[in-house]
Amino acid sequence: MTSPRLPNRMAGSHPRILALDTATEACSAAVLTRERTVSRYLELDRGHSEHILGMVDAVLAEAGLGLGDLDAVAFGRGPGAFTGARLAASVAQGLAFGAGLPVVAISDLRALAQRALDDAPAVLSVIVCADARMQEVYWACYRRDPRGLAEPYEDGEHVGAPQSVEPPEGLVRPAQGLGRGFLSYPQLGERLAGRLDAIRGDWLPRAEEIARLAAADLAAGHSVSPEEAVPIYLRNEVARPARGGTD
């Protein structure tokens, strides 16, 4: 059977994390260690379920690690496509429970914000607007913390019409608009133009930023048991109660 698990002596400051994400058209997996990040990334309209475990297997193999060598499993917990966010949660549950690891759930909006902060060191805050379909966006605002990590503004994550997006008063500049909500609803960028220094509409969240954020969250004690690894949907009105037992 498997060899006894060797404790990762770098746990804490440099934990080893497997991250996966299927909440949007992006399908990705990454392994983060002290030395490097190994990742796989695909954009697909559908079929994430067909690929994700193979991608997990590939990044572990390339990193030369087994699940037992890791400190945690991280996943993109949404908001995003319902089925996609659930797929990532279920896979994270299975891997983490099977290997006896904790789980770190990372917001897909925050993961996308992190990508922008890493890409442009001058950017200090980000408004992320992901396309939520049905003429709505999932949105949230983040600022760069002293470690360079995306820290959410206090008002949290929202779902709503593009015209409902309202960045907080103290949004620090330079600020960037980010996410496919800006592509799908051009009026969004026009309305916020005076408060943004740049807009980047093509990016999607990726597992490598999820791993990076998860390493910090894990060190801060923000992990959950595999059973608690569930998606965040934001949109919760999915059915209407029937009329009085008839119909």
């Binding site: 089925t83 279920s90 549950q93 059973e227």
Partner: protein, 345 residues
């Protein structure tokens, strides 16, 4: 030489509105099985809401898995595989179980296999002390399926007849709804029917006058709708309507099951699925099948409705035969039963 480890499998079911997990050992039998039903969640909607079902499965399945592993004292050392319901059913609901099961198997380094939900039902009686011999005729009647099949062996099924529209259990539930009974209604309709006067009303028995083994129940719903529409029914006439509905469904099921026995020349009938719990159906089948020198087998009641124990039976057989999935996680909302690969003994 070290003796081969016995086949012990974990199974997960999530095809509709029940989350379930089970552990089955080839020698020691069913070691644990647990289930959480979402009936209360869906009641206010008058039916299963697929998205809500999926949302609940992703919360319920892993605690159930942990429970059956603990109860059966099984871990990665004892388990040789993981089985899960891959279809048919609600795509999103199936995917939660498939993803959890496939990933668990990956983490444990054991094979995983996707099981056909109806094969599970057809094999549920393998868990009884005296399982029915092959070949036999199976009548699978539930809220989602109505099927007559010739069961030749594990993995070899010939579909004799299916419903063209509503399933038998669905007909029970839908007419119960017309009578104002709370969802899911079928079992309650049966209770109400037991107090009614047989023969006070008569509803059509679609497809009964024609040869063949196909079913159709949607006409019954329409007939009941006409009977109850624009009227305030007295308690007594509600009971009579319920009684007539049950009569129509049971008579149809019994007649077709007998026809299937006759057509195949077989003597043993297996009845499975949630409607197999119906008292009138059991009485009639006992009388009619025994009168012809045959016998009827049922799974124990808790294994008539959806469960993971039956998925473990089918999964264990397939895993032991060397079947296993690759790393793709797949759910099949539609999946013809006859497309299954036979299992070599």
């Amino acid at each position: 030489m070290e003796k081969a480890k016995p086949w012990r499998v974990l199974a997960i079911e999530s095809s509709c509105d029940e989350s379930a997990a089970a552990v089955l050992d080839e020698h020691r039998g069913l070691l644990a099985h647990r289930l959480f039903t979402q009936i209360a969640l869906h009641r206010r909607y008058g039916g299963v809401v697929p998205e809500l079902a999926s949302r609940d499965h992703v919360r319920r399945l892993l605690p159930l898995v942990r429970g059956v592993l603990h109860e059966s004292q099984s871990g990665p050392r004892e388990l040789r595989g993981v089985a899960y319901t891959a279809g048919p059913g609600l795509a999103g609901a199936l995917l939660t179980g498939a993803a959890l099961a496939r990933s668990l198997a990956y983490a444990w380094g054991v094979p995983a296999v996707g099981v056909h939900h109806l094969e599970g039902h057809l094999l549920a009686t393998r868990l009884e002390a005296e399982p029915p011999p092959f070949p036999h005729v199976a009548l699978l009647v539930s809220g989602g399926h109505t099927l007559l099949a010739e069961v030749l062996a594990v993995g070899r099924y010939r579909v004799l007849g299916e419903t063209r529209d509503d399933a038998a259990g669905e007909a029970f539930d839908k007419t119960a709804k017309l009578l104002g009974l709370p969802y899911p209604g079928g079992p309650e309709l049966a209770r109400l029917a037991d107090e009614g006067h047989a023969g006070a009303l008569k509803f059509p028995r679609p497809m009964l006058d024609r040869p063949g083994l196909e079913f159709s129940f949607s006409g019954l719903k329409t007939a009941v709708l006409h009977a109850v529409r624009d009227r305030t029914l007295s308690e007594a006439s509600r009971r009579d309507v319920a009684c007539a509905v049950q009569e129509a469904i049971v008579e149809t099921l019994v007649a077709k099951a007998l026809r299937a026995l006759e057509a195949t020349g077989l003597e043993v009938l297996v009845v499975c699925g949630g409607v197999a719990a119906n008292r009138l159906l059991r009485e009639r089948l006992a009388r009619e099948v025994h009168a012809r020198g045959g016998r009827v087998h049922y799974p124990r009641l808790e294994l008539c409705t959806d469960n993971a124990a039956m998925i473990a039976v089918a999964g264990l057989a397939r895993l032991r035969a060397g079947e296993q999935d690759d790393l793709g996680i797949r759910a099949r909302a539609q999946w013809p039963l006859e497309s299954l690969r036979p299992i070599e003994p």
